[in-house]
Amino acid sequence: MADKVLTANRLSDGTSVWLDAAGNWNERLQAAFVARHKEAVEALEATGRQAFADNQVVDVNVIDVEEVDGVLRPLRMRERIRAEGPTIAYAIGYSGLAATAA
């Protein structure tokens, strides 16, 4: 089984967030709590359902990640881009193109 983390978008501003070990929605993927076995994944899913029902987040998903040299890297590019931002220098002050996106 691939390692998994729980991700969503915050209701109030749409920002991508990941569930951390303290049970908070964190803006950094690297802070995410990693589920490595079935029970842990089920706990993530339950937490996600509850947070959605509590109107904290929307678009809740459990996604596959791998840990390479202590850095979490989502398996799908879509999720890498969600974590790192657009891969392009889209506006002044925002450069994109982060380490794990490529």
């Binding site: 109030s12 749409g14 109107n55 881009i81 969600r82």
Partner: protein, 557 residues
């Protein structure tokens, strides 16, 4: 241009206040997501990968400098200092906060703008030729009719929950710059033998996963019957359009399955019932709307000719820009200016708040306060005196907006793709950037001539790849991006859907592949006047397949 009346003002402000209440109830938890989502979509608010997205309508692509300044203000105050002009003549903001959106919409309402019907299964923003009211080849300005359609279709109770979204485009010229044949309804304004104005009516075009060219179902519809006939089409669609399968719900599928003749028969039958009803447009109403779109009074400025010749001689870059980005106007002393939003290596369609302000300033000073958004993701100043071209150019240079590439290979259409879009399979923007850099030299672009590259990040085809001379479609294969190439598409009066040329290319190889296609064209064209599209139509796909995949390729998978 059209000005809101009291009813319009009250309606739009009322909707903003409703939305404010809906957002407050959503944030307090009173409204669940399932209940809220359709409400936010009715106000043009999507959720993308990183944030919410707001799509603001620019009806038929026309706006004034005050409105453009407001778009800059929205970018600055509620977003990250930029916006993305789209192929549907709209603008999208990529980073607004849900909690601030009601304020953003209230600000927009002060300049008669909104985001209604930019999403959902309703009649969407009606698009029109971006050169409307200025083009030399125009029979009549399409915008009064687009405005009539807009008023009629706004919260139309019968047509607010159609089987699927519905897009109407209108052109008033022989050359189709509104891609009417890939719309649900395409209207081509023309005059009949008696000099009366009416429309050729096309139905059932569209892109997406099933690209189809529209069928003409009527040669000449008198202008008075515009709403009657459109209503008849909508009714037939509403009745028979498929609601069981989202992918088969557009009217194009109905036209395809029912046949254009049978559909036309049904429409005519409904039309016969409705004809002469209150939907008939009185001449006085059409005239009243048309006055809003009366062209500015263009005084003779014959001195521009001599000035222009001198300026061109003095500055070859200016000359190149005029050659590429300025087209003849109805009035001989004026021109239509394309402001390219495609800087070499830049992001197609993006403009910063400062650039929007600069365009507003220039439009106000030199262009009768009129700005257009083109479906090719550029901005247009439709009326500029030749005598003013030099200062306009200087202003654009200062704002980084004077790229001389309208219609050339670097004038690329690209959808947001996987950098933003939740539905995407692959990125579009970086591909556009790399191609733009590869072909960026002015000499090379000039040698290649007219060539339209269009890129979509998934089969929804928001980047119009099906009608690109060269189309690129991003797909996901085994978790990686791959780009399929189509050739020979076109979205003008001779619309055609591009053909898939063979297996796809990895991101690092796709620019090389495009270059092979371009070099093959340069090698086989009869002379420089034979465009890529004309050459492709003459020789077909085989020489390109051979060049891309090796000789004797049988139709590749």
């Amino acid at each position: 241009m059209y000005r809101y009346d009291e009813f319009d003002h009250a309606f739009v402000s009322g909707r903003v206040e409703q939305f404010r209440d809906q957002v407050a109830r959503r944030l307090s938890g009173e409204l669940a997501e399932d209940a809220f989502k359709p409400l936010r979509l009715m106000n043009g608010v999507y959720l993308q990968l990183h944030a919410y997205m707001l799509r603001v309508a620019v009806p038929y692509g026309t706006l004034n400098s005050r409105q453009m300044r407001m778009l800059a203000h929205i970018a600055r105050k509620y977003d990250r200092g930029y916006g993305h002009f789209t192929t549907r003549q709209n603008i999208q903001y990529n980073w607004p906060k849900l909690s601030e959106l009601p304020d953003a919409l209230a600000d927009l309402a002060t300049v008669e703008m909104h985001s209604l019907q930019t999403s959902g299964n309703c009649i969407r923003n009606v698009t029109a030729d971006h050169f409307a009211g200025a083009a030399a080849d125009e029979v009549a300005d399409p915008r009064p009719y687009a405005e009539i359609l807009r008023q009629w279709s706004s919260v139309h109770p019968e047509f607010s929950f159609l089987p699927r979204k519905f897009k109407i485009a209108v052109t008033g010229a022989e050359r189709d710059r509104a891609a009417i044949q890939v719309h649900d309804i395409g209207l081509h304004l023309k005059k009949n033998g008696h000099g009366e104005i009416g429309f050729a009516v096309y139905v059932g075009g569209g892109q997406g996963r099933t690209p189809l060219v529209a069928k003409k179902i009527r040669d000449f519809l008198p202008e008075a019957d515009l709403l009657t006939y459109t209503t008849a089409i909508m009714r037939v669609y509403n009745l028979y359009g498929r609601r069981d399968n989202k992918f088969k719900a557009r009217i194009k599928i109905l036209v395809h399955e029912m046949g254009a003749e049978e559909l036309a028969r049904q429409v005519e039958a409904e039309f016969a019932e409705l004809r002469g009803s209150e939907l008939t447009l009185p001449e006085s109403d059409i005239a009243a709307i048309a006055t809003y779109f009366a062209p500015p009074r263009l005084a003779p400025r014959a001195e521009g000719w001599a000035n222009l010749a001198q300026w061109k001689k003095a500055d070859p870059e200016f000359a190149r820009w005029v050659q590429q980005n300025v087209q003849p106007h109805k009035h001989p002393d004026y021109g239509m200016v394309t402001i390219s939003l495609k800087p070499i290596g830049g992001i197609p369609g993006d403009a910063s708040d400062a650039q929007m302000e600069a365009v507003a300033d220039i439009a106000q000073e030199y262009a009768f306060d009129e700005i257009r958004v083109s479906h090719e993701q550029n901005l247009i100043l439709p009326h500029v005196a030749l005598a003013d071209l030099e200062p306009v150019y200087r202003g654009l240079v200062a704002a980084g907006l004077a790229t001389a590439n309208a219609g050339l290979i670097t004038d690329i259409i690209a959808c947001p793709g996987l950098d933003y879009c939740a539905l995407a399979n692959a990125r579009s923007i970086p591909v556009a950037q790399e191609i733009s850099n590869r072909f960026g030299s002015p000499e090379r672009q000039a040698e290649i001539g007219e060539l339209k590259i269009k890129i979509s990040g998934c089969i929804n085809a928001c980047g119009h790849h099906h009608v690109g001379h060269i189309g690129l479609l991003g797909v996901e294969k085994k978790g990686e991006e791959l780009y399929q190439i189509t050739l020979g598409g076109s979205g003008d009066e001779n619309t055609s859907i591009g053909e898939i040329i063979g297996r796809g290319f990895e991101p690092e190889k796709v620019t090389d592949a495009v270059e092979v296609v371009v070099d093959t064209y340069l090698g086989l064209r009869r002379d420089p006047s034979e465009t890529f599209l004309a050459a492709y139509r003459r020789v077909g796909p085989q020489p390109f397949k051979d060049a891309l995949y090796g000789e004797k390729t049988v139709a590749a998978a």
